[in-house]
């Protein structure tokens, strides 16, 4: 585990994901855009049905994502729920702001960067923190799409420790054996607990700051979804 590269990865994931999501949210808010409806339907349909694990795995393989750092970034780039959250937030921003910017000669991209983004800091904060937490907690990608142990995220490392601990417990069948093993298992257990603390602390630090946005975020997602 290299903390620096881990951090870089987390950062790039967050930046890309927020950029793609907010841009798409901004576009899908334009009510007279030709093709808006079918695109929205096709995007939300992926919530209900998907290719399943194996075709997805093969697709990652074809895209050369397996065993590359990008397998942590690309597959979780956009999420329907967050996209809908962002879009509904944008819909709440008065159209007149956009109109006046257009009259002043702003293009769409400028409206997006100069008006929409500065006005939507709360929703960006919420989506950003959700994305970061989900990403931090993910072990699945590391365990199944990544065989290079050097590129494993923290949670996968922890999972491997856990599985190892399970199999060592497996051998301990009777109480007497357990007692005999006691000294050895204490060290592995304390190591495990140390890892748990290390992986939980970042979340506990972030938690108080996002907590006040929960209700609002969850509600937007539920009502418009």
């Amino acid at each position: 585990m290299h903390i620096a590269s881990l951090w870089r990865e987390q950062e790039s994931e967050l930046f890309l994901s927020l950029m793609v999501t907010t841009m798409a949210g901004f576009v899908l808010k334009q009510y007279d855009l030709p093709g808006r409806k079918p695109i929205t339907i096709l995007i939300t349909f992926t919530m209900l049905f998907g290719g399943g694990m194996i075709p997805t795995y093969i697709q990652y393989k074809n895209l050369h994502l397996l065993n590359s750092f990008w397998v942590y970034v690309i597959p979780s780039l956009v999420s329907v729920t967050y996209l809908i959250m962002v879009r509904s937030f944008f819909e709440g921003i008065p159209d007149s702001l956009e109109e006046s910017a257009k009259l002043d000669g702003c293009g769409y991209f400028q409206i997006y960067t100069k008006i929409m983004l500065p006005l939507s800091k709360p929703v960006i904060a919420v989506v950003g923190l959700y994305t970061a937490v989900n990403h931090w907690n993910d072990w699945f990608a590391g365990a199944f799409y990544m065989s290079n142990t050097k590129l494993w995220p923290v949670q996968t490392v922890l999972q491997q420790m856990l599985t190892k601990a399970m199999s060592s417990q497996r051998e301990v069948t009777s109480v007497a054996q357990a007692l005999a093993h006691n000294t050895a298992s204490v060290t592995s257990d304390s190591l495990k607990m140390a890892a748990v603390v290390v992986t939980t602390v970042p979340i506990l630090c972030v938690y108080p700051f996002i907590q006040k946005y929960f209700a609002q975020g969850a509600m937007i997602g539920a009502v418009k979804g």
Binding site: M53, I54, W139, Q155, D189, T199, Q211, A222, G225
Partner: protein, 308 residues
């Protein structure tokens, strides 16, 4: 009245909006590559996959995998386990979040309410790994908190809960409930807070108590939200949440901790039987989709609330 400009011809509009399409492009590319190509890849369920030939070059085998699966020794057990987990998660756990939201709503002390909410939301943000590691500690034979409590009360404190199949569903239920109850209650709380307060006042005039108010006003007012969340939940009836179950699997509870999801992962990604695993995944996804569509239809007929 808002001024509605007359619609321009399609070609002109497409041209006028080109920057918007460019901005949407990454998102569209993402959904095509990550969601829709794998959906097309579901044809694998009818093919004998070979790495060299790829999905499209592999020979067709028709319904062979489906026949193999349904006539196999594993099928009834897998389906039964999957359904049990689904029922636990979607139906048994479902009312608890509503009850928690109703209770939180009745609290007088704002401070206590805040603290309770903070404490109940937190587990949602812990990863499955951490939760399972903590469970291991709590449920460990002899040294775990639970077993020590049992032996302090005079019982036998050497039960290895995680290795015993008969505790598996109970552990799964408590773990999943603990993790999600607070988070799920947020939506109900938000719905409850938007109930018209004059209704409560009117019912007070008529002499309603707290419980009656809950039953006759709060619950009917949030039934739309309840219905929506239920439909969403039913879609997941067949997808058991592979993460938790994979982590809770031990040699002792292997017979119950084998759901369709886990089986797909085992035979497909670990075992390399891509076609067979895809076929099982397809059955699972398709049944989930059908369940959602049917529930949505029913709900629209009965309560006039639907996802679409």
């Amino acid at each position: 009245m808002q001024y509605e400009p007359p619609k321009q011809p399609l070609g002109k509009r497409l041209f006028r909006y080109w920057p918007l399409y460019v901005m949407l492009l990454p998102c569209i590319v993402y959904y095509i590559l990550i969601c829709y190509v794998p959906m097309a890849g579901l044809v694998l369920a009818f093919k004998d996959y070979s790495f060299k030939k790829g999905i499209w070059g592999s020979p067709w085998v028709g319904l062979r995998y489906f026949k193999t699966f349904f006539s196999s020794y594993d099928a009834p057990r897998l389906v039964k386990n999957t359904l049990t987990v689904g029922v636990i998660k979607c139906i048994l756990e479902f009312p608890f979040a509503i009850i928690l939201a109703l209770m939180l709503n009745e609290l007088r002390s704002m401070k206590f309410k805040k603290v309770t909410q903070t404490v109940t939301y937190l587990p949602h943000f812990l990863s499955s790994i951490i939760i399972v590691t903590m469970l291991q500690r709590i449920l460990a034979p002899n040294t775990g908190v639970l077993n020590q409590a049992i032996s302090a009360l005079g019982g036998d404190g050497s039960t290895f809960f995680l290795m015993d199949a008969k505790y598996f569903f109970r552990i799964l239920f408590s773990m999943d409930l603990w993790r999600n109850i607070g988070w799920d209650s947020i939506i109900y709380l938000a719905a409850i807070s938007s109930v018209d307060t004059s209704l409560y006042e009117a019912s007070e005039m008529d002499g309603c108590g707290k419980l009656k108010k809950m039953w006759h006003i709060t619950l009917p007012s949030i039934r739309g939200t309840i219905g929506l969340l239920f439909i969403m939940g039913v879609g997941g009836l067949l997808s058991s949440g592979v993460e938790q179950i994979w982590l809770l699997r031990t040699p002792g509870n292997m017979s119950l901790a084998d759901t369709l999801d886990v089986f797909v992962l085992r035979t497909g990604i670990q075992g390399g039987q891509f076609g067979y695993a895809t076929a099982i995944g397809l059955i699972q996804g398709f049944v989930g989709l059908v369940l959602v569509v049917v529930c949505n239809k029913l709900s629209k007929k009965v309560t006039e609330v639907g996802l679409w």
